[in-house]
């Protein structure tokens, strides 16, 4: 052959249809492949016994369906687990499994590193290294030992989902397709810092929930925390969201990491409530997990509670997120950065 063998894992039904046709399979061959890949978790074409052997041979010469498992796992006292997966260029991405009662949330990464440079983010300190393919995103779900107990998936790990939209949309299609993983889009939330054109495409093309990283309602202050504010100001993000109706089927939430003395005053709470007026939404207040050399510090618990009460008093559905995995480098990007530093140190 000589040609590179490509991974078929992560392919949508449409792509599988093209592959099936090239392999000489009938029209339903795409659904057979999807069934083996995503429902029966096949690790090789030899498993696919309802596909003719000649087609399996043809496929195995051109494609692989196996995927790498996690190279490392760390478990918190609170049950949270962080999995490290190898990624392109020698980097690593993190997936976090967060059990809580009957609910278990899987937090996925979409890029190795990130380009957005938010002041409070550890992933940004790695710089951008690569986009994850749809298969690499989905592999964080497929290879998770706790996969069958996952109730919710959030795209809130490393990287900006809207900066890797094509692969994120393909991964969502596979997660939600009844011919693949068959998850309900109401179980999936995708986060963004507000890249408006991509966000609008996401809203057009999926029914998954959306989470917006707000972190300050004031544009000058948000600009210091999140450089994206220069190009896509929050007021434009909100204007784009206001054009849509937000019912019970689809939710928009606003993520608000609380920094002591920076964005946690009553003035901030009043402004958050004011700018969200007319948008059916919820606000999640998130304790800041400090990262090395940061000028930011977490808000005290009582400050967070006062902020929460102020928002609730103004009619905003608000929750304070629990800190999870504090003993295992909870801040997104910490674990992968440490592993990257360790591996590079060994190489030198």
């Amino acid at each position: 052959m000589g040609a590179a063998v490509k991974s078929l894992f992560g392919a949508t039904l449409e792509s599988l249809g093209q592959v099936a046709a090239e392999a000489g399979l009938p029209a339903y061959g795409a659904r057979q492949l999807s069934d083996w890949l995503y429902r029966k978790h096949a690790t090789g074409f030899q498993d696919m016994l309802n596909i003719p052997s000649r087609a399996r041979e043809w496929l195995s010469q051109r494609y692989t369906v196996d995927t790498p498992g996690p190279v490392k796992v760390t478990e918190s006292k609170d049950g949270t687990k962080k999995y490290l997966f190898p990624a392109a260029g020698g980097g690593f991405v993190e997936a976090a499994w967060i059990p809580e009662g009957k609910r278990a949330t899987l937090c996925l990464s979409v890029q190795v590193g990130c380009k957005m440079g938010c002041l409070f983010c550890m992933t940004g300190k790695q710089g951008f290294q690569a986009h994850l393919s749809a298969g690499e995103i989905l592999n964080q779900y497929r290879s998770l030992p706790e996969r069958d107990s996952v109730t919710n998936i959030v795209y809130m790990g490393m990287g900006e989902p809207m900066d890797n939209l094509t692969n994120v949309l393909e991964s969502l299609e596979v997660l939600c397709s009844p011919d693949a993983y068959g998850l309900s889009p109401s179980r999936i939330t995708v986060s963004t810092i507000g890249l408006i054109p991509a966000m609008e495409q996401f809203l057009e093309r999926t029914r998954c929930h959306l989470a917006i990283s707000m972190h300050s309602p004031f544009d000058e202050e948000r600009r210091r925390l999140m450089p994206v504010e220069n190009v896509y100001p929050l007021k434009d993000v909100l204007a784009a969201l206001r054009k849509r109706s937000w019912g019970r089927q689809r939710r928009v939430s606003f993520e608000y990491i609380m920094f002591n003395g920076v964005n946690d005053t009553d003035r901030h709470a009043r402004e958050v409530a004011r700018i969200l007026e007319g948008i059916r939404c919820r606000v999640n207040l998130i304790p800041f997990h400090p990262i090395p050399a940061t000028p930011l510090a977490p808000s005290p618990r009582d400050t967070m509670e006062r902020f929460e009460q102020e928002l609730k008093r103004r009619g905003i559905l608000t929750t304070i997120r629990q800190s999870r995995g504090l003993d295992i480098s909870a801040a997104c990007g910490m674990l992968s950065t440490r592993e990257l530093v360790r591996v590079r140190g060994e190489q030198e």
Binding site: M116, G117, D163, R223, R224, P233
Partner: protein, 230 residues
């Protein structure tokens, strides 16, 4: 003396992404893989603002900082040729008289009166070129980083208008008057000028590293404004 143009035609990227046809006046490679394209100025803008460019409605527009002054007759953009990209190989093939699609200007990476420290790498020097060419040179210090001397675009111009307040940094080649090392090394070791604000522009790695170095030197993060090319 800082100078600002009249209110720009568009402030919101969502609205500004309506693309209009403009005619290329000039398109030339100014350093290996780095191009400068110019077209007659169809609107007013603030120095530091951005436009979206494409060559064809079927190709997604990408954003570029304006490098020309707000009173110049042409709009000038610097861009990296990305051989595997959709847009820049096409842009690189354009000549005078060819059509380019441009949005109106938008964005808020703006400076004001008073002392500022500007830090740039690569084509991230464009907004500072625009500011300087618009007359914003008083009390402005520019630190320009590059791996190569050829990558210090507009070095002669910045030297002439900023004098000793222009600090070129080169990490792989040496030359008289050029700091040997990365711009972050200069930030970590030099006496930083008193500045009301620090503006950073370039790729995410440089911006994040420079911001960390500034904070380590005691610059309050509230004074640091970053524009990241992504």
């Amino acid at each position: 003396m800082s100078s600002r143009s009249p209110v720009p035609a568009a402030e919101r990227p969502g609205e500004s992404l309506r693309l209009i046809e403009v005619k290329v006046a000039e398109n030339q490679e100014i350093a290996p893989g780095i191009f400068r394209v110019a077209f007659p100025r169809p609107w007013d803008f603030f120095p530091g603002q951005t436009i979206a460019l494409s060559t064809d409605p079927s190709i997604p527009a990408r954003y570029y900082s304006i490098a020309s002054g707000c009173h110049d007759p042409v709009v000038e953009i610097l861009y990296d040729l990305v051989p595997e990209g959709l847009l820049t190989p096409r842009m690189a093939g354009l000549g005078a008289g060819d059509t380019l699609l441009s949005s109106e200007p938008f964005g808020a990476f703006l400076d004001g009166d008073g002392a500022s420290l500007w830090i740039a790498a690569g084509t991230g020097v464009a907004p500072f070129a625009s500011m300087a060419r618009s007359g914003m040179v008083e009390d402005k210090t520019l630190v320009q980083g590059s791996r190569t001397l050829a990558g210090l675009y507009l070095r002669g111009y910045f030297s002439s208008v900023l004098g000793a307040r222009y600090v070129p940094c080169c990490s792989t080649e040496s030359a008289a008057g050029v700091f040997s090392g990365r711009s972050t090394a200069w930030i970590s070791s030099a006496a930083l000028p008193d500045a009301e604000r620090v503006l950073l522009c370039g790729g995410s790695r440089m911006v994040v590293d420079a911001r960390d170095a500034l904070i380590a030197r005691g610059v309050p993060f509230e004074r640091v404004i970053s524009e990241i090319y992504f």
